[in-house]
Amino acid sequence: MLVPPVSEFMSLQTHTIGREQNLTTAHRLMRAHQIRHLPVLDGGQVVGIVSQRDLHLMESLDDADPDAITVEEAMTQDVCAVAPDAPLDEVAEIMLERKLGSVVVMRQGHLLGIFTTVDALHCLSRVLQRAAAT
């Protein structure tokens, strides 16, 4: 089977957030754009990624104030950027090796999308369906 590029299965997503922004802002952005992950940028570089689940967990604590907590405190620092033409088997390998829940897809410093484990499930589902049909 021809290995598809990551761009074929990524979620198109060009919204980002700064590391000094607070969780309330992150929440607002996620809600407004119906997204679950926000890459965190600093000077054009991806320095982290924050997910809706991270926000919910932090806010479930009694003494947590979403206005006072910065994105930097909630984000995962371990992020990886790949090119849109990166083959998916290699992307899967990177995610496995580095234990990543997602990779960001960038071209020349611009965010194009995110490939998460949910996108990987969609891709696997398609691959299995194709294999079953042959």
Binding site: M58, L61, P87, D89, H122, L124
Partner: protein, 135 residues
């Protein structure tokens, strides 16, 4: 081609943790079993799943609090559970996980937990399927 059952790609006999266990106990159990997800049991009943990421986040926050309340696995776990039989076709399980944005499926035989299929197992399966030579 027949699609494989979920049992072929699941992690067999996962370690479990009690809902009332401390976060520290959960970390120790995960490290010993070298896994990143633990099914959570309450009086023998499956009530949730906890991941290493859930634990890390709660632990790091707790370190910053002035007088942290004692947290248990129950505070960190996800209660959204998806269970499947071990002979369920993998293609169905994966499609359902994708639709529901589920991070794992608990695999059962009768009332017993025999395995867990997480997104890590899905990535392993994806890599294997993509690298298969074209028939």
């Amino acid at each position: 081609m027949l699609t494989p059952p979920i049992s072929r790609y699941m992690t067999i006999a996962p370690a479990t943790i009690a809902a009332d266990a401390s976060l520290g106990e959960a970390v120790t159990t995960m490290r010993a079993a070298r896994v990143r997800h633990l099914p959570v049991l309450d009086a023998g009943r499956l009530v949730g799943i906890v991941s290493d990421r859930d634990l890390e986040l709660l632990t790091s926050l707790r370190a910053e609090a002035v007088s942290p309340p004692p947290l248990t696995v129950r505070d960190a776990m996800t209660t959204q559970i998806y269970t499947v039989r071990e002979d369920a076709p993998m293609v169905d399980v994966v499609a359902r996980m994708a639709e529901g944005r589920l991070g794992s499926a608990i695999v059962t035989r009768g009332d017993r937990i025999v395995g867990i299929f997480t997104t890590v197992d899905a990535l392993l399966a994806l890599r294997e399927q993509l690298d298969r030579p074209t028939a």
